[in-house]
Amino acid sequence: MSTSTLVRPKLDPRERERMERAFRVPRSRSIIGVVLAVAIFLWSANGAQFDFLKLGEGASNMGDFLLRMFPPDFSKIGLIMKLLLETLQMAIVGTVLGAVLALVVAFGAASNIAPSWLYYPCRWAMNIIRALPDLVIALMFVSAVGLGPFAGILAMTIGSIGSIGKIFAEAMEAVDRGPITAMESVGASKRQVIQYGILPQAMPMLVSYTLLLFEGNVRGATILGLVGAGGIGLELTTAMNRYDYGHLFAMVICIIVLVTIIDQASAIIRRKIT
């Protein structure tokens, strides 16, 4: 065996000195980056009229509002439960349809699966959907299919494609390349590579994001009701307009309980699958 001497390329002395210091002077690009980030934040806060003093001044009004909500009025608990159930059903159907359609679009929007002629149109479609506010989508469907939960479900389904589709695509892009190589090496078809190489790896993320979508859709369903797209939202608006704060607070409490139960159930499912 031939003998060899170990070659030891030198570290730049100035770099060495900098690395040895306990407290380092930040690089100029780091300083510029921080200054730039702070400047953008201040510019945005100013533009959005963010004002802590105003918040302090209005705190007493907020206190009044909260006081008027006590005690909660559960006299219409039957109606609240019925509407809450409708909200939950809307969220379930909207999430299932939305997740399935989002998965289909995500296959086209994942760069490691789709050809470029499909990749870009799918990404653009998701960007357009994401740019549309949920309430605008809901209004479109209310005018198309009339008032009621069906319009809300359709709005949630379409909205889900934009929001969760992108995350699904990125979850599939982030999988380990090794098993994909192995599948290609055994002569697997594209469908088989996706089915056995990509989906099993991405599944924990897909399920986790679907649960997140579901939680979001439960909350979203309460907002969609504001434009007549079903659920408890319309009753919330009516209670506020009638200054029926006790009833409003009872509904808020029920929504908090429902969202907490869903959150806990989601956490258990996430633990099981990851």
Partner: protein, 269 residues
Amino acid sequence: MSVVSTPAVTPRQKPIAEPLVSIRDLRVRYSAQDPFVLDGVDLDLFRGETVALLGSSGSGKSTLMKALTGFAPIHSGSVRAGDFDVTALQRGQLRRLRSQTGQVFQQFNLVGRLSVLTNVLTGSLYGAGAPNVFGTFRSADRKRALELLDRVGIAHKANEPARSLSGGQQQRVAIARALMQNPRVILADEPVASLDPKMSRTVLELLQQIAREDQIPVLVSLHVLPLALAHSDRIVGLRHGEIVVSGHTAELDADMLAPVYDIEEEEEE
């Protein structure tokens, strides 16, 4: 230095003159601007032999394996694997070639969340038929996969997720997956680089045993010279994309293999 390319004589088998894999004057480069990664490589692989491929990082070992399965852009030369002319294959034929070429990887490349059994069954994906769309495999395939797990000594872990196994166990699952393909040749690209010395020997013994029992060639790239000397019938040494040493393991020693490792140059890089 001897530069020979004759079939190795294994203790149990007389050489069969017809190579299963035949490479002639193979030149590969990844783009027109790049130098050749493989430059004029000649190599034959015969039934029942284990051929160790030695060389420093970047010497072209992995590219040679990729060229045999149509994953590397062949510039010129010929590559024949069984009935296939690898240089002239269309997409469908490439899939068929790959389905008959077992591959074992350094990082095992198993799907960690899937069971050990399912990982082995993925070796039969080519031609798995319509039921496979629903994630099912034929009963005969499942039976065979379990038999192969018996063969590599992991059957008791068949129902466990692959990620729960040790590195050595995962590599044996990967070997079972390769065997599931009924391969005409097995290509193992640094299969023991992530394993401890004891497990490295176990895996290499298994590969050599498979080559002899199934009468297929096994091409295994390695970095550790003693392992190559202990677990191969023939050694081929690559340096800068050219074969600089080739011969029967019994006729070679560490000094004769020295030209394979350009240590000073490698460390300067």
